[in-house]
């Protein structure tokens, strides 16, 4: 079991690795997004397919063997994202944003590190959009309490 600060440092290092891999996989190269959606190039399609298959096999193996986490010392958790209200609308809006910016929340910070200035504006947008969701949730809570 690692101290919280060490766990955070480990997460930071994993972030560095993730940014590097996203970049080297081609996920931070704008044209590869357009070409994937226009069916002209399959780089990113193969990347995600291979990654999902490798992940699937590894997760199955980890679950079979009840592997414990190095960082927490506890059994690894495999929580599944639930069906939530708005999932379809949210996913639809997300896709539009993906097409408009050729990036997603995981690649934007990596693009920024590469010196891609468009990512700075997308980053501002993502923070504003996330903020808007929080404000909306707070407003809904307020209305529930008062009504």
């Amino acid at each position: 079991m690692l101290h919280k600060r060490k766990l955070n440092i480990l997460a930071w290092l994993l972030g560095v690795l993730f940014g590097f891999l996203m970049s080297r996989a081609g996920a931070t190269t704008y044209d590869l997004h357009a070409k994937m959606f226009l069916w002209e190039d399959f780089q990113l399609m193969i990347v995600i397919s291979v990654a999902v298959l490798v992940g699937m096999a590894g997760i199955w193996w980890m679950q079979q063997n009840g592997l414990h986490s190095l960082g927490t010392g506890a059994p690894i958790q495999f929580p599944r994202k639930p069906w939530q209200k708005g999932l379809l609308l949210g996913a639809f809006l997300f896709g539009i944003g993906w097409a408009m910016t050729a990036s997603c929340p995981g690649t934007v910070p990596a693009m920024l590190g590469e010196g891609k200035l468009p990512a700075l504006f997308v980053l501002i947008g993502i923070i504003l959009g996330t903020l808007a969701y929080g404000v909306l949730q707070d407003a809904i809570q307020c209305l529930r309490r008062d009504g």
Partner: protein, 162 residues
């Protein structure tokens, strides 16, 4: 900035192994978009939503993970043949996006807002739903991933072909 990217199978293998490494080291799934909620919490103390529930503790692995990503991008760029430099170009997209710098910036901010708001409404982004959720064969994640992809494809066709 021209990145010397790897063959697709190698990139996929690397990211797949990353997903597993994250599970093993941190003990739970990797995710990107949740980290932005913690950034919102740091930016706005009065926002209750990003200070409660799963967001209660701001100083956590999701935030630090997100803060590490730019350095990985920087490293990859420095190791590419093309020397590191700031640039505002977006390749093929430059022909279809607004032609003025202000117009382009506003377009990107708006697109980013759809990414941020959409990810929260859907519960996760491409990483949490498509990559990790897909690897766990989680039905809501598979549906979300399919919708991400379909709507992005439709919008890209509208941009480039209409």
């Amino acid at each position: 900035m021209q990145i010397d990217y790897w063959p697709a199978w190698l990139g996929g293998l690397g990211i797949g192994l990353f997903v597993l490494l994250h599970f093993w080291l941190i003990g739970r799934p990797a995710g990107c978009s949740t980290g932005y909620g913690h950034i919102c919490a740091l930016a706005c103390r009065r926002l209750k939503f990003f200070h409660s529930g799963e967001y209660r503790d701001v100083n956590n692995t999701r935030l630090w993970f997100l803060l590490g990503i730019p350095f990985g991008g920087l490293l990859s760029a420095l190791l590419s043949a093309d020397p590191w430099h700031w640039n505002f170009s977006m390749g093929m997209y430059d022909a279809v996006l607004p032609q003025t710098a202000t117009g382009k910036a506003l377009w990107l901010i708006f697109g980013g807002m759809l990414l941020g708001f959409g990810a929260r409404l859907a519960g996760a982004c491409t990483t949490g739903h498509a990559l990790v959720g897909g690897a766990m064969l989680n039905p809501p994640s598979l549906v979300a991933g399919a919708v991400f992809f379909t709507s992005a494809m439709a919008m890209t066709w509208l941009l480039f072909k209409v």
